[in-house]
């Protein structure tokens, strides 16, 4: 088999070259570890724990919305005073739940859990590096995230409750403790936690970018990088540019809250008192927030799309269709992501002319997104598709991404946004396109790379059952939610009985809630499968999906430095699946063209001449430069 041959070639080049590393203590090995694989697992497990908390919250408020008559007294042991004696959820706590669900899912699960896990795990393994450019910064990145997590988690236990002004924390509500109980200590901790979170993201992002640029192995030119790496690189750049802006908006909010400044406050009369602040603008905060907030959507989504590209190509046994177009569309999306933020603000009183400009720019994003969608479909076309759980989730992602993305074209149209802004139509839209689609990317990644992470396989059948229940469940939740939005239901409402126009449609809300509970329960299949397989799963072969990328040439459980002996060299792109004439239906990246004369295209035969040069290089091996 050619994969094995490739490995042997790699070994063949390996000189006797031993490393002597002292045995690491438990602390160095699992806690303050600088190994990218361990850090990735730390991110993954923390992300999963946060996901359990975040999704549970959504189920609680879905019960409140869809089954308003239900008695929640059984939650008293956990929620205590937040459940009234009559078994009703406290309205303030409802807002806190909505807020924390958003914050946790967007930042802690889909940013840290997704990018943090897979950028860390895959970048060195797929570009052929021993580790990240700076293992120490990488470790710091995780521990800043951990600190942010601890602070955010602690805020859940405050007497007054955690932050509760929506995940967008618009001032003045978030700036004035007298406006809402959640704007007191809860908001202080939220802001502190986010500040540390941003530090963590920046440390991670700088590291990802540096590693991809500097530590690619011999022959791994940019046009041979797997699309996963492209997506992680672009994501890191997005984060590096936009997260500091969030930090500044958070800092200014802290000043307004604690030092009496008026960045966001003006002309406020509250609780029988006219505040002295004048001259600030709440709209300024919204501009700053969404300058991060919109790229954040793509920070969440692009890694999922990268993972999907890799998984779909591997399991269709076909090269990804339009490799260059995929990169170009990601770059296009990333660029546009920075100049569309104000489409979240069409009806905030912003100048309508600005609204027109942002509408134009926003709708352009549909074009690169459409290109991605069609390229995925063409990759499936005439493939030989193996439905691994990872593949199922990737196919599901394409469907969710397109279904959710299309309604974005409605919302990006400022005239239509007047009616739909802040209704359930928006909620349905972004949950499909960024929430569920990114979560599917996360699942696809976990199922696909689990064998490399833990050396064991996850159970396929359970994974498939998990997929179908989740996929059907997600659509059952969010398709009806569009109807509720078209009926004009505003979001973040504790109950719908106050208005005649919302005092109907109860069975649809009940349906959504039941579907949400069902989807929630389905996730326990995953949890069981994941944790059980870590310890008891079937032992993984070296390359279970018969994939081309470099990580599958490393040992089943890669040790420190990832490859024994020399780092493999790269001679081709990562998508040589089902190449005409080839013996196997895949040719890993480390197989030189000189070994596959039967399947080479004419221009590839010319590349054989360059192989000697590639082979003789030995840049970038961190172990060699250290010693």
């Amino acid at each position: 088999m050619s994969a094995i041959e490739g490995l042997e070639t790699a070994h063949h080049h390996a000189d006797e070259h031993d490393h002597h590393h002292e045995a690491q203590s438990f602390w160095q090995k699992y806690i303050f570890c600088e190994d990218h694989k361990v850090i990735a697992k730390q991110y993954l497990i923390t992300g999963i724990l946060w996901a359990v908390i975040g999704i549970t919250m959504s189920v609680i408020f879905r019960i409140q919305l869809g089954l308003p008559d239900s008695n929640l007294s059984w939650l008293k042991p956990v929620l205590g005073g937040w459940i009234s004696d009559a078994g009703k959820l406290d309205p303030n706590f409802y807002l806190a739940l909505v807020t924390m669900h958003g914050t946790i899912m967007v930042f802690f699960v889909l940013t840290a859990g997704l990018s943090g896990t897979f950028s860390n795990f895959l970048i060195p393994l797929q570009i052929g590096a021993r580790d990240m450019a700076s293992g120490f910064m990488n470790m710091l990145s995780y521990w800043f995230f951990f600190l942010a997590s601890v602070i955010m988690f602690a805020s859940l236990f405050l007497q007054q409750g955690p932050a509760a002004g929506g995940w967008v924390i618009y001032p003045p509500l978030s700036a004035l403790p007298q406006a809402h109980p959640g704007s007191g200590m809860g908001m202080t901790l939220w802001l502190a936690s986010m500040a540390f979170f941003i530090v963590s993201q920046l440390l991670g992002g700088i590291n990802y970018i540096t590693t991809v640029i500097n530590l690619r192995t011999r022959g791994m030119s940019f046009d041979r990088l797997p699309l996963t790496i492209w997506s992680f690189l672009i994501t890191a750049v997005l984060g590096l540019i936009s997260f500091p802006v969030l930090l500044s908006s958070v800092l200014l909010l802290i000043f307004d809250r604690h030092f009496g400044t008026s960045f966001y406050l003006s002309d406020i009369y509250i609780n029988g008192e006219a505040l002295p602040n004048v001259g600030g603008s709440p709209i300024l905060f919204q501009h700053l927030f969404w300058f991060l907030g919109h790229p954040e959507v793509y920070i969440v989504l692009l890694p999922a799309l990268g993972i999907t590209s890799e998984v779909i190509a591997t399991n269709s046994r076909k090269p990804i269709f339009g490799y260059r177009a995929m990169i170009a569309s990601m770059l296009g999306i990333a660029f546009l992501a920075f100049i569309v933020w104000a489409h979240h603000m069409f009806v905030t009183g912003m100048n309508p002319f600005l609204g027109s400009v942002f509408m134009f720019l926003t709708l352009i994003i549909a074009v690169p997104s459409a290109v991605k969608g069609f390229n995925y479909i063409t990759t499936l076309w005439k493939g030989n598709i193996v439905f691994t759980p990872g593949m199922l989730f990737s196919i599901g992602l394409v469907s969710l991404f397109v279904s959710g993305g299309l309604t974005g074209i409605i919302l990006g149209n400022s005239a239509l946004d007047i009616q739909l802004h802040d209704t359930y139509f928006v909620v349905a839209h972004f949950h499909l396109v960024m929430g569920a689609a990114s979560a599917f990317g996360l699942f696809a990644g976990v199922y696909h790379w689990f064998p490399k992470m833990f050396g064991r396989m996850m159970n396929t059948s359970l994974g498939q059952a998990h997929f179908w229940m989740t996929f059907i469940g997600i659509y059952l939740v969010f398709i009806p939610m569009h109807y509720v939005g078209i009926a004009g239901f505003p979001r973040r409402y504790y109950q719908f009985t106050s208005y005649d126009f919302t005092h109907k449609f109860m069975d649809m809300n009940m349906f959504i809630s039941i579907a949400a509970i069902f989807t929630f329960l389905a996730q326990f299949i995953f949890l069981w499968n994941f944790f059980y397989s870590i310890f008891k799963g079937r032992r993984a072969p070296q390359n279970p999906w018969r994939s081309n990328t470099l990580e599958w040439t490393a040992p089943v459980i890669p040790g420190h430095g990832n490859w024994e002996g020399e780092i493999p060299a790269v001679y081709r792109w990562s998508y040589d699946y089902s190449k005409p004439g080839a013996k196997e239906d895949f040719i890993p990246q480390n197989i030189p063209y000189s070994q596959t004369p039967e399947s080479n295209f004419p221009h590839e035969n010319e590349l054989i001449a360059t192989e000697k040069v590639i082979e003789s290089q030995n840049f970038n091996d961190q172990f060699k430069t250290h010693h």
């Binding site: 309205p91 406020i268 459409a370 493939g383 439905f387 074209i409 149209n413 059948s461």
Partner: protein, 369 residues
């Protein structure tokens, strides 16, 4: 409702059955040894599921849409609202086409090209023509949608016509307060947030003579039918957002930054009661920007009157000064004479020389209400 729950229960049961049958497959495969062959557990089943989802999904979406339609908002009661509604359903119609095409292709291809032993996928890495096609077609469709949307948006947000009825609406935790330009001059007076107190809830500035005949209403807003209404929108404490679902009106209320929205309501409340067959129908104003505990119940009634009824209603309203004559003390001396016109004679004498918070003034105001 029970039908829906039964349907969900059915889905549950079917899926549970699926899981159990899959699990049995798991138990059987536990003893199998590792092999270098492609592992294709359940490939046929999963392929078939995509077709099931395709058909089931098409049926459910069609059915649920038809079912949900009766709960959608009735036809818009404003001119621009019908325009954006038409645009919305037009765009939805267009977008349904790619929605169907893409989901059909994804699911159909997944089923059709599922793994077959000995089969080999087609090596098909790129095609510039195809890429161009699906770059240009979406771009053209987008251009069409953008253009229609942009036209509508610029008309809706254009300056309000001069004859527009100007009404101020102020959001606070947790209700709306409407203020009218008054029974005589129909001009809103100045305001200042520092003048707000328990009675003067929107901070009417009584040093401006236009404020003398202003009146406020904290529970309902009347507007005339058939001519432009310009809402001047303010917030007192935190962000709020004026949402009039039946009029397709929405605009944030921002402390320190007045906003506005104008529209032409063309169906009176009575018209809507006849049209919907609901004698209790009322237009409602809601809040759509989270503002705290009472966010979900910041309701204000909106009554659309015909011109005559509206005029009559306005003329019957008590001005702020007549309700609270003690505020006469805040009127500058040179304008007192003008202001006296809006203060009932018996209340004017004690109020003119007593302070705003005096017991006499307060007593007089409560007796007048």
């Amino acid at each position: 409702m029970y039908i829906i729950i039964a349907l969900v229960a059915l889905v549950f049961i079917v899926l549970t059955g699926v899981v159990i049958s899959r699990l049995q497959g798991v138990l059987k495969s536990i003893n199998k040894t590792d092999s270098e062959e492609v592992v294709t557990t359940g490939n046929k089943f999963n392929g078939a599921m995509f077709i099931v989802i395709l058909i089931g999904g098409a049926i459910s979406i069609t059915w649920s849409y038809l079912h949900a339609r009766e709960f959608f908002l009735p036809e818009a009661s404003s001119i621009h609202g019908r325009r954006t509604d038409d645009l919305f359903w037009f765009s939805m119609g267009i977008l349904t086409i790619p929605f169907i095409i893409v989901n059909f292709l994804v699911f159909f291809f997944a089923w059709k090209y599922q793994y077959k032993k000995g089969h080999r996928a087609t090596f098909y890495p790129d095609n510039h023509k195809l890429e161009l096609v699906w770059t240009i077609i979406p771009a053209i469709v987008m251009a069409l949608l953008v253009f229609t949307g942009w036209k509508a948006w610029s008309d809706i947000t254009a300056e309000a016509p001069r004859d527009a009825e100007v009404i101020e609406i102020t959001g606070k935790q947790f209700n709306w307060i409407a203020r009218y330009g008054g029974v005589d001059n129909n001009k809103l007076g100045d305001y200042n947030y520092k003048l707000i107190d328990a009675q003067n809830e929107v901070g009417i500035d009584l040093s401006d003579e236009n404020s003398f005949d202003d009146f406020t209403n904290p529970s309902e807003m009347h507007i005339p039918v058939g001519r432009p209404v310009l809402l001047k929108i303010r917030a007192r404490d935190v962000l709020h957002s004026v949402f009039i679902p039946h009029m397709r009106v929405k605009m944030d209320a921002v402390p320190g930054m007045p906003t506005k929205f104008w529209f032409v309501p063309d169906k009176t409340t009575a018209d809507m009661r006849a049209e919907t067959g609901n004698p209790k129908f009322d237009y409602e104003i809601a809040c759509t920007e989270v503002c705290g505990q009472g966010h979900f119940s910041m309701k204000m009634r909106l009554i659309v009157d015909d011109e005559a009824t509206y005029k009559k209603w306005v003329s019957e309203q008590a001005t702020f000064l007549s309700t609270y004559p003690e505020y006469l003390a805040k009127v500058p001396e040179n304008l007192k004479a003008k202001a006296m016109k809006y203060v009932p004679a018996e209340a004017a004498a004690p109020a003119a020389d007593s302070s705003a918070t005096s017991a006499g003034g307060a007593g007089a105001s409560s007796s007048l209400r």
